[in-house]
Every structure is written in C-alpha cells, then in structure tokens.
Symmetry: C3
Subunit: 138 residues, 3 copies
C-alpha cells in the first residue's frame, strides 16, 4: 500500500476543487498497476465526490445543497457554540468523506466527464484541507 497526504487550499464557502490530477500523480508514484485508490477528507465541513467539472454544474450543485441546509434558518449547532457553520456540517455529512475509485493499467478509471472533487462547505473557508490518499493493489 502506498499512502500520501494531499493538500488543497480553498478560498470561499461552496468552492468545488478538482483533485483529479493530484490523484493521478499519487497513482503514478505508487507504482500500482491494478488496484484501487481510496480518498478520505479529514474534516467535518468538507466532502468528496465525483462530478463533471464545469462551472454550470458546480453552481447547480451548490444550489441543491442549500435546499438541504439553507443559509438563513436557525441551526442548533450555531446556537450552542456561536459558530456560523451549522449548515456546513450537515452538507458534509450527507455527501460523505470517502471515495474509492478503481486503478487499471496504472490509470484512474473515472469516466470522461467525471472528476474527483473536494467540496469546501465551511463558512470559514480559505483553509488548507487534508485528503489521505491510499493506493492498494499490485
């Protein structure tokens, strides 16, 4: 097993960051030819998924998440702790922190229109996020 920490810096709430090239680099470095790559974001206000990395879709995705956790409703988390990121925790828990993708012939087996992305969901963005990348196989 090969392991590497990937780091990305976000700039604003709702930002969706394309990590596909970072993952491809880790696969090359791992020397794994056939296997799986696993990604895990170590934060409770960020999440991982795949999406077509196109500005229209990214904006539609942000709107959809705000249906689940709107900006302007009271959050028990905010009331208890004086935080402003109640909505961030909810969105992150729903999308989820982990993602596994096949590796075949040393390549990441995503579809053509399918990029690996980190969702920065915190209201207090502009922070560095750590994603643990583990490549297993032969």
């Amino acid at each position: 097993m090969y392991r590497k920490e990937l780091h990305v810096t976000s700039h604003r709430e709702g930002e969706i960051i394309d990590m596909t090239e970072d993952v491809r680099t880790a696969i090359r470095e791992s020397g794994v030819k056939e296997g799986l790559v696993h990604l895990f974001v170590q934060h409770s206000t960020a999440a991982l998924t795949t999406i077509e990395y196109e500005p229209g879709v990214l904006s539609d995705m942000q709107r959809a998440l705000s249906v689940l956790a709107p900006d302007n409703i009271p959050y028990a988390h905010n009331t208890r702790w004086g935080d402003g990121n109640g909505r961030s925790h909810v969105k992150a828990a729903l999308v989820g922190p982990s993602l596994t993708i096949p590796v075949a012939d040393r390549a990441l087996m995503c579809g053509t229109w399918q990029q690996v992305v980190l969702l920065e969901l915190d209201t207090n963005a502009g922070r560095t996020r750590t994603v643990i990348c583990s490549v297993t196989g032969e």
Copy 2:
C-alpha cells in the same frame, strides 16, 4: 484482485436497476472467499447505492431526489451547454459513484432487504452504463 466490467441498459430517467445478481456472479467468478467487493459507476449522471428493491420505495426515492434537483427550475449547466440534464448531474454527485460491500464465505454480505442498485439519473436514458466491479481478498 479480480476485476470485471458490468453493463446495464437503462430505459428511462429515474430508473433504478437491481444489480445484486450481477455482483454475486462476479464474486463467484473471482474465487474470493473472504474480502470486499467494490463497485464504481463510470458516469457523471448515474449513481450507486443500496435500497429495498420494491416499487413503492423506488418511487419514493425518485420523489426525494427531485426535492434536491426539481425538474422545472433553471440549471446553469443547461443554460451553458444547451443540455437538459443539469438535474441529473446534481443528483448523481450527491448519491455518489462508489460502494463497497463485504464478502464472507463467498457471499455478498448485504442485509435481507438491501439490494445493490444503479440509479439512471440522466434525462437522456436508454443507454448502457458501465460499472467496474473489483473483488479483493483471499
């Protein structure tokens, strides 16, 4: 590691296709007795999850996804590209493309009411979808 491509053909937007038997077949072919089976759908407008495969639940699931991404609102993706599948991308990114399930004594360890399903979310359905199935273990 044993790897196999599974193919399913959808017929309409919102269709939920039971892939459980295909996955069981792949496990048998793999010869793996104790391990994990990983599934990944290589498309940005389809998704994987588990659900009780019963027509009522499937219909309820489609309604719930339409809360997140309703049919009749403007999508930035559609505006930019003249596509009609903005809602499809959003739903797929939220449900997610990957799923891992334990294999024990050569069997898929799902619960009794828990089937492995592909969600066809594209407005342009009637297409063949590829799911990469990887079985690891001993």
Copy 3:
C-alpha cells in the same frame, strides 16, 4: 484481513450513534498497522457517515434529512405494505451504507471533529443493528 461484527442498539427514529470507539477497538484487535477500515451497515433503514458528534449538529442533521423525506407526506412504500417507514428507506439510500477510513500507525485517521456514526432512520427503532467491520493492510 480482520473482520468483526459490531452491534449497536438504537432507541428512537433519528438517533445518531457514535461508533468511533468500537471501530478503534476493532483496529487494535486486527493488529493492522497501515491499511484501511471498511464499515457496512446491513440494513436498508440505517446509514453510516462521519459527523461532529455534538447535539446541535445531530439535531440539524435530522432536520435536513426531513427536507428530503418529510414525516407527513404519502409514501408509496407505506401504501403498498402498510408500513410507516417509507421515509426511512429514502434517507438511508441517500446517505449510504458504507464508509472506508484510513488506518495509520494503528490509529483511525479521522479528523479531530469527525466521528463515525450510525444513523437509525427507522420509525420502528429500538432495534439492534449490525455493522460489518473489515480491517485490511499490513
């Protein structure tokens, strides 16, 4: 590979149960130093994710799930089967049954504010839920 069944008992619909210590115990028992831990809940009305285990966030999460699957609307599942848990199936399929987290230096690599949780989503709670925990690596 080390495998263990984890069991948790829920008390009410919407309960979110912290399983982090159970997972840490399984990792210790496995003897795995560097690898991955995989969790799978064997039920169609429960789900797994990570969240900051703080009462405010847990309550906000329950509210968000009820946007997707409100209490007081008709469910096709309920109509067909006389069940009351149509909303439970929908929420569980959206959050998902599986979760994979890295293990490094014999430790679970979650973030500081990131606990492993089971969501009891069934209207008929007060039941024992089985989570299959598989630890792979060296």
